[in-house]
């Protein structure tokens, strides 16, 4: 479900808190999933989601409908995620925490196909775990572009708009991200 930007602006002028609550109900899950895929840690993702929505609430009046609401929200999420990743990299005490990916499995929503056997599910889970661990090793911009495009399903032009980059830069970022992921994964499989 998407919210029409112009209607939302009208709602915003009438009742700011109602407009905010509508954003939480429509985009809360999307933002949380993006945060999960950028932090790879449940508690961090929850804190980051809260930071994103606090930033949304504080800058809610600045939305003028120039971009779609989802692009505006993704931009805020991306900026907050960048700050968070940098902070996490600096804070080496948390280095071991980021590699914990148990939440992928503990989350009941993991099996989506309902056709897989338990063995196939296990293989799929291990693959996702490896992929996430590899994405974690990418440079900030590559990681964000890859997450937005491959995991969140944003188009190249949407990623360019969210990250405030040209289309060519995004293409190049995604190409390099994929090449680097292949190298990282090959190394991990060899080990």
């Amino acid at each position: 479900m998407e919210v029409d930007g112009q209607n939302w602006i009208k709602l915003l002028s009438d009742d700011k808190e109602r407009a905010y609550r509508l954003l939480v109900s429509v985009y809360g899950q999307k933002v949380y999933n993006t945060c999960l895929r950028m932090t790879f840690h449940e508690t961090d993702a929850q804190d980051l989601t809260q930071e994103v929505f606090t930033a949304i609430y504080l800058s809610i009046d600045s939305y003028k409908g120039d971009s779609t609401l989802s692009t505006w929200i993704y931009s805020i999420t991306t900026n907050k995620a960048k700050e968070f990743i940098r902070y996490k990299l600096r804070d080496k005490r948390n280095a071991s925490q980021t590699s914990s990916l148990d939440w992928i499995r503990s989350n009941s929503g993991f099996d989506v196909s309902h056709e897989n056997t338990p063995e196939e599910e296990l293989i799929q889970y291990e693959r996702v775990q490896l992929l996430f661990a590899a994405i974690e090793e990418l440079a900030d911009n590559q990681r964000i572009a890859y997450t937005l495009n491959k995991l969140d399903g944003l188009s190249y032009s949407e990623v360019a708009e969210v990250m405030e980059l040209s289309l060519q830069s995004v293409e190049s970022l995604l190409f390099r991200a994929k090449q680097n992921l292949k190298k990282i994964l090959e190394k991990k499989l060899e080990d």
Binding site: K16, E17, G28, Q46, Q50, T54, L130, L151, L185, E186
Partner: protein, 92 residues
């Protein structure tokens, strides 16, 4: 080698089947509280900061009053001082 490349491709493809994780209820509750918390953060300064602000303003007022009193009591001394200074320069 081909086997490894195939596995790498499979791992990269696993991103396509990623499920959407449910947002926890307690997080939704936290998000709904954001407007209240944000307003509290803006309107309520810590009491220590408030007292420091008050003390700062008070000391500025006292300092300015003292300086004004000093200049009122010593009016004319400025010209005496400049006279001494210029006569000293003339001697040089």
């Amino acid at each position: 080698m081909d086997e490894m490349r195939n596995e790498v491709e499979e791992i990269l493809r696993s991103a396509e089947n990623l499920p959407n994780f449910q947002i926890p209820d307690q997080l939704v509750h936290r998000l709904m509280q954001v407007p209240q918390n944000a307003m509290n953060e803006i309107t309520t300064l810590p009491s220590r900061t408030r007292w420091m602000l008050v003390a700062g303003i008070a000391s500025m007022v006292i300092l300015n009053s003292l300086i004004m009193l000093y200049y009122q009591n010593n009016s004319g001394s400025g010209t005496e001082l400049t006279d001494v200074y210029f006569s000293y320069l003339n001697q040089l």
